[in-house]
């Protein structure tokens, strides 16, 4: 099992979600987050005072997937979320040791 932590532009969330469901992803956890990578923020002016906003709104999707669909999921995300400009986001992969379904104690990939 592999956990995918994906950070994307908020505007691309629907496209990414649809692409993931298309390839058979059954569950995900989504949060609205703020952050930045190499992309620099922007400046705002309020009554002449300049504010640098360097943490920008992003959407983070967390999923734990069976290993055989990870590559397809990565492809689905990158093709749906890519604009080619700085700030498109990142995907982080982690190995997962175990998963447990609280309802009936299913374990491993059965619990996903």
């Amino acid at each position: 099992m592999t956990k995918l932590e994906t950070v994307i532009q908020p505007a691309k969330f629907d496209a990414v979600k649809d692409a993931l469901i298309e390839i058979g992803v059954e569950g995900m956890t989504v949060s609205e987050v703020r952050g930045h990578g190499r992309q620099k923020g922007h400046t705002e002016f309020y009554r002449g005072r300049e504010y640098t906003v360097d943490l920008l709104p992003k959407v983070k999707i967390e999923m734990v997937l069976p290993d055989q669909i990870v590559d397809r999921a990565i492809q689905a995300i990158t093709s749906a979320a890519r604009t080619g400009k700085i700030g498109d986001g990142k995907i982080f992969l982690t190995r997962i040791d175990e998963a447990i379904r609280i309802r009936n104690d299913d374990r491993g990939e059965n619990a996903l």
């Binding site: 705002e44 002016f45 309020y46 009554r47 002449g48 005072r49 504010y51």
Partner: protein, 465 residues
């Protein structure tokens, strides 16, 4: 039948009696008609003035409460709105007890007497010196709304850091020691600066450029200096938490200002129309002035800039509204928009004081420029305020050829500045001694909503049922 028989001898006299009666009642009839006309005019004026009173209250709540509430950080939104709302309650009581009397009862050059304390003799009968066609009670409630918004304006300077209790005490003392004398001097019977009732330095202030905006703006600056900067200012970013709220507030202020300025005609005649038009025109050009200045300097015209500009224009036209024509109003607004932008965006940054919501930059600066420009553009054709002993109309402002008026305006401005600055400083010292004016640093970081009122403005936890 008996009655008829007894009356018969007189019946032949009836036509004659009719003629006699007609002759006798002609003057009565005219007097009666005149009375009816006067009553109708009174009713019309009274209806208009009651609507205006409500409009001016609308400026404080929700207008100013929203305007200021949106500009602070979200942990202080309720506390900021509460400051405006508290004025609506507190100053009302103070006004009933003594405030109205100190402003408008006969007194000396500087302050009114106590003859109207507890609203004694303030009833349906008009006070001819102020407004001959409306009940004095209407005049009283209309003026109260000005006394409410004026201290509420100051709250912009000490936003996000003043103790609620200290604010209440400060405002009570300020209303008595700064507002009441200033209002009496400019508008009260025997006032030093009263232009229509023969003051020594007749200052033209139609709706409160000196009384409302210079006093509150200058007091705001003193408050900002006395309390010091907010924790983290200017390093930490403190952007407005909701320009949307401020936008709604500013639009309500614009609407309410028609009551403020056009209502200051104290009747529903053509002078009210003239003031209404001038008010609207100045707000428009000031919004353009501020936004364009920003567009040139920062590359974008901001929404906050446009609405701040409109308020600056409304402030500047306040003293001039009933004295200037529409074209000078356009010009006054434009000047005020650019001038206040400069004060807020450049001068404040240079000097480094933390006038959090720019009460001084908008009301102090806008009020001063407006009061002085009133001396330039006041026209006797709009409002024949000055007359000689024979009743001939004298020139009003510089545009009419009365060059002395600018000096009188400057005198009014100077007195307002000195009274506000000294009064505010003394009151702050006193309040600081008794209660302490500022919340603790921890409370300030946590936010005034929680620490002063035990509430939060927004309770939007997603996990809460």
């Amino acid at each position: 039948m008996r009655l008829l028989r007894r009356l018969t001898p007189f019946l032949f006299m009836l036509p004659l009696a009719g003629t006699l009666a007609a002759q006798a009642t002609q003057p009565d009839r005219i007097a009666q008609l005149q009375q009816q006309i006067a009553d109708a005019k009174s009713s019309a004026d009274n209806a208009w003035m009651l609507v205006c009173s409500a409009l001016v209250l609308l400026m404080t709540g929700p207008g100013l409460a929203l305007f200021y509430g949106g500009l602070v950080r979200k942990k202080n939104v309720l506390a900021t709105m509460m400051q405006s709302f508290a004025m609506m309650a507190l100053i009302t009581v103070l006004w009933a007890v003594i405030g109205y009397s100190l402003c408008f009862a006969s007194g000396n050059n500087f302050i009114g007497g106590i003859e109207h304390a507890f609203l004694h003799n303030v009833g349906a009968a008009p006070d001819g010196d102020y407004a001959a066609t409306i009940p004095q009670q209407t005049f009283m409630i209309y003026q109260l709304m000005f006394a409410i918004i004026t201290p509420a304006l100051i709250c912009g300077a000490f936003a996000e850091r003043m103790k609620f209790s200290a604010m209440l005490l400060f405002m009570v003392l300020w209303s008595l020691l700064v507002y009441a004398p200033m209002a009496h001097m400019v508008w009260g019977k025997g006032g030093l600066l009263n232009a229509s009732l023969g003051g020594r330095f007749p200052t033209l202030d139609f709706a409160g450029g000196t009384v409302v905006h210079i006093t509150s703006g200058v007091s705001a600056l003193i408050c900002a200096l006395f309390l010091g900067r907010r924790v983290g200012f200017p390093k930490e970013p403190m952007p407005p938490h909701s320009v949307v709220l401020s936008f709604i507030g500013a639009c309500l202020l614009w609407v309410g200002w028609f009551g403020f300025n056009a209502g200051s005609a104290l009747n529903s005649g053509s002078l009210a129309t003239s003031a209404f038009v001038a008010t609207h025109f100045a707000a428009a050009t000031a919004a353009i002035g501020w936004a364009v200045a920003e567009w040139i300097r920062n590359g974008k015209p901001s929404v906050l800039g446009a609405i701040s500009g409109s308020v600056a224009g409304l402030v500047a036209i306040t003293p001039a509204a009933g004295f200037v024509g529409p074209m000078p109003a356009l010009l006054i607004g434009l000047i005020a928009g650019v001038f206040c932008y400069t004060m807020v965006a450049m001068v404040k940054a240079r000097l480094g004081y933390d006038d959090s919501l720019d009460a001084f930059g908008v009301h102090g600066a806008g009020g001063t420029i407006g009061a002085l420009l009133t001396g330039v553009f006041a026209a006797s054709a709009v409002n024949p305020i000055f007359k000689d002993a024979q009743g001939h109309v004298l020139p009003s402002g510089m545009i009419d050829g009365n060059f002395r008026q600018l000096g009188n305006q400057a005198m009014g401005v100077l007195i307002a500045i000195v009274l506000a600055a000294v009064g505010t400083y003394v009151i702050l010292q006193l309040v600081n001694l008794v209660l302490g004016v500022r919340v603790s640093a921890e409370d300030e970081v946590q936010g005034l909503d929680l620490t002063q009122h035990g509430e939060e403005g927004y309770y939007w936890e997603a996990s809460m049922p």
